[in-house]
């Protein structure tokens, strides 16, 4: 299972943090700092894996990917395949890119709620629910439409059949 997803910038500022097992906020911050301390000391062109057990305890692995000013970090246990999780990071970033057209750190900062929505359509309670970037986008767009509609007329359709078509 995936234990946590974090996005932080190269200065160590958290841009997104989602823990799939409940942790008090102080503990979350401690873990994020621990991860950043290791990440910021890593060179370019090395592997995408770091030893997670010293930070997250036994049976944990960590895979990260560095894009421009952001680190995308996934923490998970031995029931997941490391490279497959790396693919997942790529899917996440590609989806963000589709959503924001050339995504940059500021998009992630100011569209915090949207990034959340995307992540929720991809990972559900620590398990991967969707790996297809276009399927994730479809779901996110449906939600956006629904929000826009309800904002405009504050009325929601009784059933979702209206957006059933693919």
């Amino acid at each position: 299972m995936i234990k946590a997803v974090m996005v932080m910038n190269t200065q160590g500022k958290t841009r997104l943090a989602k823990f799939y097992e409940y942790l008090p906020v102080e503990k979350q911050q401690e873990l994020i700092r621990g991860v950043f301390a290791v990440l910021c000391s890593r060179a370019e062109n090395v592997s995408n894996f770091i030893d997670a057990e010293s930070i997250f305890g036994p049976d944990s692995r960590l895979v990260y990917k560095h894009f421009a000013t952001l680190y995308f970090v996934f923490v998970f246990d031995s029931s997941e395949n490391e490279l497959a999780v790396l693919d997942l990071i790529q899917v996440f970033v590609e989806t963000l890119d589709r959503c924001f057209k050339n995504v940059c750190e500021l998009d992630v900062v100011f569209n915090y709620s949207k990034v959340h929505t995307i992540l929720d359509e991809m990972i559900f309670g620590g398990q991967v629910v969707e790996t297809s970037s276009s399927e994730i986008m479809k779901a996110v767009e449906e939600i956006s439409k629904l929000e826009a509609a309800s904002n405009a007329i504050t009325l929601i359709p009784k059933s979702a059949s209206g957006w059933r078509s693919r």
Partner: protein
């Protein structure tokens, strides 16, 4: 969502804060604002509520506690409109944990949303429940979630979330969520075409099979089918193709699920799977595109893990090792990393260690990789692959690397080097060299146990003493040495420097002054050791040296008033003792040998290994297979002569054993039983803390006489064959025979081995007997793997085969002793002379300490091993069937009391015995026609035909017709199949229970209306 201006402004404000203090002020202000607004909730529009909630979540992410608004959040869930409801669900799942009281308030609403018809609401509710997964949710919602998952009217979007929601509830509360009877539904879910739903369902399956694979056998072929479909890229929509690869994620998950099944018995499924795996192994290349590379290798590494799990043929295994060997040398760091990691896992598979050793040079190169993650994996692998044959090379590499290794790795590195040096030292002087180098290069990381252990070896080993003394003197001569080096040097020079007295620069005076030079630089814990050394040097100085004496006495004098109690006491006592003259020699005599005890280092290593044992499939399997995975030495021939560096060599230097008994206390107890009288004289428990031996006052208080006894016990116990022990052992043996309990069910192990060719035949706390077999025609070659799980040798090992009349069995020589933690392979040749169901028995015995263990084990050289499936066409079948017209070549019997099973299961059962179903030959769907070839010396290859007619109305009875060209074969095979069909799982070889007709003789009558004959007549 784009339009939340308030939120953007707030985020900008935070970004503009110059320091943490400003940020805190801004956030406090915002929290106050949100709190106020929520107080008069009436005036809030849904939009505002949403805005505030996102602000709260943002603040939470920044690391500030948001401890209000929980009630408001939960109550929003029951709002009728989407935006409010959405906000309620999101904030609840982020801020509340599963035990929060407020959640109870929401259960009814959540349930209504789940069972309601609004899919948006369903998704919101499922997401929240899935993220929190509380017990009360599980109790009241699990059945509804199950229904959603199976509902055909739901969109995939909802169903895939339902699958994962159920998984989460099950994981968190396995006692509440009832999954009995889910096997069929799971199998049905695996037929799903939508890859999104299939992905989620596969995760659910992984969770279910990891808990209980037995119930989910029916899912196994479906998983293989899915994998096959993906691997062939059949019917995979574009959106699930990732860089040209059909859903790598689902491929990986499917292979993961397959690793939870212990084996794959159905030959067709197995073949299909191996074809897919073979294609993945061979068809994956390193390409330019990083993402494509990652994805294809994700699949490849999972395939490797699955191959390892399935314990494929040796050929495929070597192929895997070859691939891994290629990976650890590629440019792509991720692949290097995983290559090393998987090689480490591969070590658990028997037979491949030698192939892995060929890559040693490359692995050592990886120890210098720029990436610390890769260096760590390389270290793990080197540690895992080290054995007596390569210990010297590996440990020396580690030592060399130690000086340049980064700080974070040094501790682990030095600990591992110390453990390997101790476990696999080809000779003890080398061991001393290694540890001293370790202390010299990485003194800060050398724990006390490491230097205690050296002292223990040196003390117990007379030959080693002058060498060690000379060696430490070299080190201590250097200007700056680590304090640990001072400690170990002081101890060893104090005890043994007199052995060097004739060498230049080693007079007592010189030794003393070298040591004393260090005194101002050391801490108070080291000074007592130095004082002891001085006292001992003084005692050994013959003839007495007045000048040295006055120097040392002056030092004792000085420390008589030391503030540290330990130093003070030693100074006072040594001074008093020195003045006693001759008595000093007795009291300060050389330390007695230490009782043998398990190395605390190795204990620690084992503990940490057990500690981190993860529940992954590979590990699970490793535990089932080789619990002695710590070390597997090469096969040691019975005469022990050809092995260049055998473990036995160590005993040449009179050290009882490098690694001592696993079970200290039991050995100790056994020893005191043997020497009942002496144990009263010697009340000192041999398990006294090592620390107290060296640092404690034992040096003064322990007159050698008292401890020598216990030392003698330890040594004789370890040698095990000394007369005294043997004499008393005879009595003990009688009492203790078979007190050793086997691990696992011997019957079950045997039955499993009847169906597969490798596995564990027997295991108890001391030994594990594994078996690997190859069958060709009427010949069989079995290898028995006798693995000693302990750190003491197993002795008086004996294996005798009691073959039945039909088998010719030759067992190669079994060594009398199995060295500690070693695995010995004993090949066994089997020739099948004629058909019979009798079973060969292995009479195996060994002695551990005083425990004589004897077990009689059935060998899985059973009838079905000499069968080979053969597909027979209708043209071949019917003439043969007709030509064998009646008894004794063709026998028929109505069997009652059959274990009821569906026809496919029966077909699988037959296939597992290598009896191949020939579909389509019998038009009646309730019948099975099968064929096989039997091999024996008397019959040669002989075709056997089987027909089973079942009654769909009564599955407990069937009619079976067998034919072959040999009457005994026909009879034996019929009885064999019958046993399998009616067998009660616990007693497969016992004669059929009362349900079977007591007449062993086959009924010779073939009724005139034999359907087979009619069928044949119709078709011919």
């Amino acid at each position: 969502m784009h339009g939340m201006r308030g939120l953007s402004v707030f985020i900008s404000d935070i970004r503009n804060c110059q320091n943490k203090e400003q940020e805190r002020l801004r956030i406090d202000k915002e929290l106050g604002n949100v709190r106020n607004r929520f107080k008069n909730e009436k005036g809030l529009t849904p939009y505002e509520k949403k805005k505030y909630v996102w602000k709260m979540l943002y603040i939470f992410m920044l690391g500030y506690d948001v401890d209000f608004g929980h009630m408001e959040a939960v109550s929003l869930i029951s709002a009728p409109k989407y935006p409010e409801k959405q906000v309620g669900y999101i904030v609840t799942s982020c801020l509340l944990n599963e035990n929060h009281d407020f959640l109870r308030l929401a259960i009814n609403t959540v349930r209504n949303d789940i069972i309601g018809r609004n899919e948006t609401f369903q998704c919101l509710a499922l997401t929240m429940v899935g993220n929190i997964g509380g017990r009360e949710f599980a109790e009241s919602l699990a059945p509804d979630v199950q229904k959603l998952l199976l509902s055909s009217s739901c969109r995939p979007l909802v169903r895939k979330k339902a699958a994962l929601c159920l998984l989460r509830l099950y994981r968190k509360n396995p006692d509440v969520v009832n999954v009995d009877g889910w096997a069929d539904r799971m199998a049905q879910l695996l037929d799903e075409r939508d890859l999104g739903v299939l992905t989620s369902s596969m995760s659910l399956l992984v969770a279910l099979v990891s808990n209980n694979h037995e119930a989910y056998w029916s899912c196994l072929p479906k998983c293989v089918k899915i994998l096959d479909r993906l691997a062939r890229n059949q019917d995979v929509p574009q959106e699930y193709t990732y860089y040209g690869i059909p859903s790598p994620w689902l491929q990986v998950k499917t292979m993961r699920a397959l690793q939870y099944f212990p084996t794959i018995e159905d030959p067709y499924t197995r073949r299909t799977l191996f074809e897919v795996l073979q294609r993945i192994l061979m068809g994956t290349d390193v390409v330019k595109n990083v993402n494509k590379n990652n994805a294809s290798h994700a699949v490849l590494f999972e395939a490797l893990a699955l191959v390892m799990h399935l314990d494929a043929e040796k050929e495929m295994m070597s192929q895997c090792v070859a691939l891994l060997g290629k990976f650890i040398a590629v440019r792509e760091p991720n692949i290097r990393y995983l290559g090393l990691e998987n090689m480490t896992r591969m070590l658990m598979v028997t037979d491949v260690q030698d192939i892995i050793k060929r890559h040693q040079a490359q692995i050592i190169t990886s120890l210098k990789d720029p990436d610390v993650s890769i260096r760590r994996r390389a270290l793990d692998l080197l540690y895992g692959m080290c054995d007596v044959t390569n210990a010297k090379d590996i440990v020396e590499e580690l030592l060399q690397y130690l000086s340049s290794a980064d700080f974070t790795m040094r501790e682990e590195l030095s600990l591992k080097a110390a453990i390997l040096a101790e476990k696999f030292a080809p000779d003890l002087s080398w061991y001393v060299d290694v540890i001293l180098q370790l202390i010299d290069k990485a003194g800060d990381f050398i724990s006390d146990d490491i230097w205690f252990r050296v002292v223990q070896f040196v003390t117990n080993n007379d030959d080693l003493q002058p060498y060690a003394a000379a060696k430490v003197k070299e080190y201590i001569d250097k200007p700056a040495v680590h304090e640990t080096m001072v400690k170990v040097s002081a101890y060893i020079l104090g005890e043994y420097s007199h052995l060097l007295a004739r060498r230049p620069g080693c007079s007592p005076k010189e030794i003393f002054s070298i040591l004393h030079e260090k005194l101002p630089t050391v801490s108070t814990t080291t000074i007592p050791i130095l004082l002891s050394a001085y006292a001992k040097i003084l005692m050994h100085t013959q003839p007495p040296d007045q000048e040295l004496q006055s120097q040392i006495w002056a030092i004792f004098n000085k420390y008589e008033s030391c503030i540290d109690a330990e130093i003070q006491q030693r100074a006072v006592e040594y001074l008093a003792l020195c003045q006693k003259g001759a008595a000093l020699t007795d009291i300060l005599a050389e330390m007695p040998k230490f009782p043998e005890r398990k190395s605390s280092l190795i204990k620690r290593a084992e503990y940490s290994e057990a500690d981190t044992a993860e529940q992954s499939a590979i590990k699970l399997r490793a535990q089932q297979q080789t619990s002695n995975a710590l070390v597997v030495t090469d096969q040691i021939p019975a005469n022990g002569a050809t092995s260049p560096v055998s473990v036995g060599q160590l005993s040449l230097v009179k050290v009882p054993s490098l690694v001592t008994t696993e079970n200290d206390t039991s050995t100790d107890r056994a020893l005191s039983q043997q020497n009942g009288a002496s144990s009263k004289v010697d009340p000192q428990p041999p398990s006294a803390d090592l620390l107290s031996d060296i640092l404690g006052p034992l040096a003064i208080e322990g007159p050698p006489g008292a401890t020598v006894q216990s030392e003698h016990n330890a040594v004789s116990g370890l040698e095990g064959d000394s007369d005294a022990v043997d004499g008393s052992a005879i009595v003990v043996v009688e009492e203790q025979t078979n007190t050793v309990q086997p691990i696992g069910n011997i019957d079950e192990r045997f039955r499993a081995l009847c169906l597969k060719d490798s596995g564990v035949l027997y295991e108890d706390p001391y030994i594990q007997i594994g078996i690997k077999a190859e069958w060709r025609g009427h010949h069989g070659r079995l290898v028995l793997f006798l693995g000693n799980k302990n750190t003491a040798p197993l002795i008086s090992v004996q294996a005798i085969i009691l073959p039945p009349a039909q088998l010719k069995v030759e067992l190669s020589l079994v060594p009398d002793t199995i060295p500690p933690r070693a695995q010995v392979q004993c090949p066994l040749e089997v020739v099948n002379l004629r058909p019979s169901r009798d079973v060969a028995v292995l009479d195996f015995s060994y002695k551990f300490g005083t425990n004589m263990v004897n077990v009689k084990l059935r060998l899985p050289a059973v009838l079905n091993k000499f069968l080979q499936p053969i597909q027979v066409s209708a043209e071949e079948f019917f003439p043969q069937w007709r030509s064998l017209s009646g008894p004794p070549l063709k026998l028929q019997e109505v069997v009652r009391g059959v274990r009821p099973m569906p026809l496919p299961e029966m077909a699988n059962l037959l296939s597992s015995f290598h009896i191949m179903i020939c579909p389509g030959l019998d038009p009646n769907p309730n019948n099975l026609v099968a064929s096989t070839t039997f091999y024996s010396e008397s019959t040669r290859a002989m075709l056997c035909l089987v027909r089973i007619e079942t009654d769909p109305a009564d599955r407990t009875q069937l009619r079976m017709t067998l034919s072959s060209g040999d009457p005994t074969l026909t009879f034996e095979l019929k009885e064999f199949i019958k046993e399998q069909l009616i067998s009660i799982p616990t007693a497969p070889r016992s004669p059929a229970p009362s349900a079977a007709p007591p007449t062993a003789q086959p009924s010779p009558q073939i009724p005139p209306n034999d359907p087979a004959a009619i069928l044949a007549g119709l078709l011919s």
